[in-house]
Protein backbone atom coordinates (compact mmCIF):
# COMPACT_ATOMS: atom_id res chain seq x y z
CA UNK A 1 0.00 0.00 0.00
CA UNK A 2 1.46 3.33 -1.00
CA UNK A 3 0.87 6.14 1.46
CA UNK A 4 0.20 9.59 0.07
CA UNK A 5 1.54 12.48 2.17
CA UNK A 6 0.97 15.41 -0.17
CA UNK A 7 -0.24 17.72 2.61
CA UNK A 8 2.83 17.13 4.78
CA UNK A 9 5.23 17.59 1.86
CA UNK A 10 3.60 20.81 0.64
CA UNK A 11 3.50 22.22 4.17
CA UNK A 12 7.15 21.29 4.72
CA UNK A 13 8.21 23.00 1.48
CA UNK A 14 6.66 26.29 2.65
CA UNK A 15 7.51 26.00 6.34
CA UNK A 16 11.17 25.13 5.73
CA UNK A 17 11.92 28.62 4.42
CA UNK A 18 10.04 30.32 7.27
CA UNK A 19 11.97 28.34 9.89
CA UNK A 20 15.25 28.90 8.06
CA UNK A 21 14.70 32.67 7.82
CA UNK A 22 13.76 32.75 11.51
CA UNK A 23 16.96 30.91 12.38
CA UNK A 24 18.99 33.42 10.35
CA UNK A 25 17.20 36.25 12.16
CA UNK A 26 17.92 34.71 15.57
CA UNK A 27 21.55 34.18 14.58
CA UNK A 28 22.08 37.81 13.57
CA UNK A 29 20.03 39.24 16.44
CA UNK A 30 22.19 37.47 19.00
CA UNK A 31 24.31 40.48 19.84
CA UNK A 32 21.58 42.78 21.17
CA UNK A 33 18.65 40.40 21.72
CA UNK A 34 18.17 36.80 22.87
CA UNK A 35 19.52 34.30 20.41
CA UNK A 36 22.92 33.65 18.94
CA UNK A 37 24.80 30.87 17.23
CA UNK A 38 23.55 27.97 19.32
CA UNK A 39 19.82 28.62 19.03
CA UNK A 40 20.16 29.58 15.38
CA UNK A 41 22.00 26.36 14.63
CA UNK A 42 19.41 24.29 16.42
CA UNK A 43 16.60 26.01 14.49
CA UNK A 44 18.34 25.35 11.18
CA UNK A 45 18.64 21.74 12.30
CA UNK A 46 14.91 21.79 13.02
CA UNK A 47 14.19 23.01 9.48
CA UNK A 48 16.32 20.24 7.96
CA UNK A 49 14.67 17.70 10.29
CA UNK A 50 11.29 18.84 8.98
CA UNK A 51 12.52 18.10 5.45
CA UNK A 52 13.78 14.71 6.65
CA UNK A 53 10.35 13.96 8.11
CA UNK A 54 8.41 14.98 5.02
CA UNK A 55 10.77 13.44 2.47
CA UNK A 56 13.33 10.70 2.90
CA UNK A 57 17.01 10.59 3.76
CA UNK A 58 18.34 10.11 0.23
CA UNK A 59 16.29 13.01 -1.19
CA UNK A 60 17.49 15.39 1.53
CA UNK A 61 21.09 14.27 1.07
CA UNK A 62 20.75 14.91 -2.66
CA UNK A 63 19.14 18.32 -2.00
CA UNK A 64 21.75 19.45 0.54
CA UNK A 65 24.95 17.85 -0.75
CA UNK A 66 27.14 18.78 2.23
CA UNK A 67 29.31 16.44 4.20
CA UNK A 68 28.18 17.57 7.63
CA UNK A 69 31.29 16.27 9.40
CA UNK A 70 33.29 18.69 7.21
CA UNK A 71 30.89 21.45 8.32
CA UNK A 72 31.92 20.74 11.95
CA UNK A 73 35.57 21.15 10.94
CA UNK A 74 34.93 24.41 9.10
CA UNK A 75 33.07 25.80 12.12
CA UNK A 76 35.86 24.87 14.54
CA UNK A 77 38.40 26.39 12.16
CA UNK A 78 36.41 29.67 11.97
CA UNK A 79 36.12 29.94 15.77
CA UNK A 80 39.74 29.06 16.46
CA UNK A 81 40.91 31.31 13.61
CA UNK A 82 39.02 34.25 15.07
CA UNK A 83 40.52 33.56 18.47
CA UNK A 84 44.04 33.10 17.10
CA UNK A 85 43.86 36.05 14.71
CA UNK A 86 44.07 38.46 17.63
CA UNK A 87 47.65 37.29 18.24
CA UNK A 88 48.67 38.86 14.92
CA UNK A 89 47.76 42.31 16.28
CA UNK A 90 49.83 41.94 19.47
CA UNK A 91 46.84 41.58 21.77
CA UNK A 92 46.00 38.57 23.98
CA UNK A 93 44.27 35.45 22.69
CA UNK A 94 40.50 35.84 22.12
CA UNK A 95 40.59 39.65 22.08
CA UNK A 96 37.71 40.87 19.92
CA UNK A 97 37.45 44.12 17.98
CA UNK A 98 34.55 46.10 16.59
CA UNK A 99 34.05 49.18 14.46
CA UNK A 100 31.28 51.15 12.79
CA UNK A 101 31.05 50.90 9.03
CA UNK A 102 28.88 52.74 6.53
CA UNK A 103 27.49 49.91 4.43
CA UNK A 104 25.52 50.78 1.27
CA UNK A 105 22.20 49.14 2.07
CA UNK A 106 22.28 48.97 5.88
CA UNK A 107 23.59 52.43 6.76
CA UNK A 108 25.64 52.76 9.94
CA UNK A 109 26.40 49.17 10.96
CA UNK A 110 28.44 47.93 13.90
CA UNK A 111 30.53 44.95 12.79
CA UNK A 112 32.09 42.80 15.48
CA UNK A 113 34.53 39.90 15.20
CA UNK A 114 32.42 38.01 17.74
CA UNK A 115 30.02 37.45 14.83
CA UNK A 116 32.66 35.33 13.06
CA UNK A 117 33.13 33.31 16.25
CA UNK A 118 29.36 32.94 16.47
CA UNK A 119 29.11 31.71 12.89
CA UNK A 120 31.68 29.06 13.80
CA UNK A 121 29.47 27.98 16.71
CA UNK A 122 26.50 27.93 14.31
CA UNK A 123 28.27 25.68 11.81
CA UNK A 124 29.48 23.31 14.57
CA UNK A 125 25.98 22.98 16.04
CA UNK A 126 24.34 22.38 12.63
CA UNK A 127 26.98 19.86 11.59
CA UNK A 128 26.95 17.91 14.86
CA UNK A 129 23.16 17.74 15.16
CA UNK A 130 22.57 16.77 11.52
CA UNK A 131 25.34 14.14 11.72
CA UNK A 132 23.74 12.61 14.81
CA UNK A 133 20.25 12.59 13.30
CA UNK A 134 21.33 11.22 9.92
CA UNK A 135 23.46 8.47 11.42
CA UNK A 136 20.72 7.41 13.86
CA UNK A 137 17.80 7.66 11.47
CA UNK A 138 19.48 6.19 8.43
CA UNK A 139 19.82 2.53 9.36
CA UNK A 140 17.54 -0.14 8.03
Amino acid sequence: MKKNNVILQTTAKVTFFIIFLFSIHIFFAGHFAPGGGFVGGLLTTGAIVLLLLAFDLETVQATLPFNFTVVIGIGLLLSLGTAAGSILFNVPFFTHAFAHFDLPLFGDTELHTAMIFDSGVYLVVVGAAITIIQSIGGDE
Binding site: G46, V49, L53, D56, G138, E140
Partner: protein, 93 residues
Protein backbone atom coordinates in the same frame (compact mmCIF):
# COMPACT_ATOMS: atom_id res chain seq x y z
CA UNK B 1 -6.07 45.67 32.71
CA UNK B 2 -3.70 43.89 35.04
CA UNK B 3 -6.53 41.93 36.70
CA UNK B 4 -7.78 40.93 33.24
CA UNK B 5 -4.38 39.48 32.33
CA UNK B 6 -4.13 37.56 35.60
CA UNK B 7 -7.64 36.15 35.13
CA UNK B 8 -6.63 35.02 31.62
CA UNK B 9 -3.51 33.38 33.05
CA UNK B 10 -5.55 31.51 35.65
CA UNK B 11 -8.06 30.33 33.01
CA UNK B 12 -5.24 29.06 30.78
CA UNK B 13 -3.65 27.35 33.80
CA UNK B 14 -6.91 25.57 34.59
CA UNK B 15 -7.36 24.45 30.98
CA UNK B 16 -3.76 23.21 31.03
CA UNK B 17 -4.61 21.11 34.10
CA UNK B 18 -7.65 19.74 32.27
CA UNK B 19 -5.52 18.81 29.28
CA UNK B 20 -2.96 17.23 31.60
CA UNK B 21 -5.67 14.80 32.76
CA UNK B 22 -6.00 13.69 29.13
CA UNK B 23 -2.25 13.23 28.95
CA UNK B 24 -2.19 11.04 32.05
CA UNK B 25 -5.25 8.83 31.47
CA UNK B 26 -5.77 9.09 27.74
CA UNK B 27 -6.79 5.63 26.54
CA UNK B 28 -4.76 5.71 23.34
CA UNK B 29 -1.49 7.25 22.21
CA UNK B 30 -3.06 9.76 19.74
CA UNK B 31 -5.11 11.21 22.63
CA UNK B 32 -1.91 11.93 24.55
CA UNK B 33 -0.30 13.36 21.40
CA UNK B 34 -3.15 15.80 20.74
CA UNK B 35 -3.17 16.77 24.42
CA UNK B 36 0.56 17.54 24.34
CA UNK B 37 0.06 19.65 21.20
CA UNK B 38 -2.68 21.59 22.98
CA UNK B 39 -0.40 22.11 25.98
CA UNK B 40 2.14 23.63 23.59
CA UNK B 41 -0.42 26.14 22.35
CA UNK B 42 -1.39 27.01 25.94
CA UNK B 43 2.30 27.50 26.76
CA UNK B 44 2.51 29.97 23.86
CA UNK B 45 -0.42 31.97 25.20
CA UNK B 46 1.01 31.93 28.73
CA UNK B 47 4.31 33.31 27.43
CA UNK B 48 2.48 36.02 25.45
CA UNK B 49 0.55 37.11 28.55
CA UNK B 50 3.68 37.01 30.71
CA UNK B 51 5.50 39.20 28.22
CA UNK B 52 2.70 41.74 28.71
CA UNK B 53 3.03 41.41 32.48
CA UNK B 54 6.80 41.83 32.47
CA UNK B 55 6.55 44.57 29.80
CA UNK B 56 9.25 43.13 27.54
CA UNK B 57 9.46 42.19 23.86
CA UNK B 58 12.24 39.66 24.24
CA UNK B 59 9.86 36.73 24.77
CA UNK B 60 8.38 37.07 21.27
CA UNK B 61 11.10 34.89 19.76
CA UNK B 62 10.33 32.16 22.30
CA UNK B 63 6.70 32.06 21.10
CA UNK B 64 7.68 31.35 17.49
CA UNK B 65 10.31 28.87 18.69
CA UNK B 66 7.80 26.87 20.75
CA UNK B 67 5.32 26.89 17.85
CA UNK B 68 7.93 25.51 15.44
CA UNK B 69 9.25 22.89 17.85
CA UNK B 70 5.73 21.78 18.81
CA UNK B 71 4.85 21.39 15.12
CA UNK B 72 7.97 19.34 14.36
CA UNK B 73 7.44 17.18 17.46
CA UNK B 74 3.81 16.49 16.64
CA UNK B 75 4.63 15.62 13.02
CA UNK B 76 7.43 13.25 14.05
CA UNK B 77 5.30 11.54 16.71
CA UNK B 78 2.40 11.06 14.31
CA UNK B 79 4.73 9.67 11.67
CA UNK B 80 6.08 7.26 14.27
CA UNK B 81 2.56 6.16 15.16
CA UNK B 82 1.57 5.68 11.54
CA UNK B 83 4.68 4.08 10.02
CA UNK B 84 6.85 2.91 12.91
CA UNK B 85 9.88 4.76 11.52
CA UNK B 86 10.45 8.49 11.80
CA UNK B 87 13.01 8.96 8.98
CA UNK B 88 12.75 6.75 5.89
CA UNK B 89 15.75 5.87 3.83
CA UNK B 90 13.96 5.87 0.48
CA UNK B 91 10.23 6.28 -0.12
CA UNK B 92 10.33 5.90 -3.88
CA UNK B 93 10.65 2.13 -3.78
Amino acid sequence: MNIFIWVCLIIIFLSMLGTLIRVFKGPSTPDRLIALDGIGVMLISIIALLSIVFDTIFFIDVILLIAIMSFIGTVSFSKFIEKGAIIDRDTRR
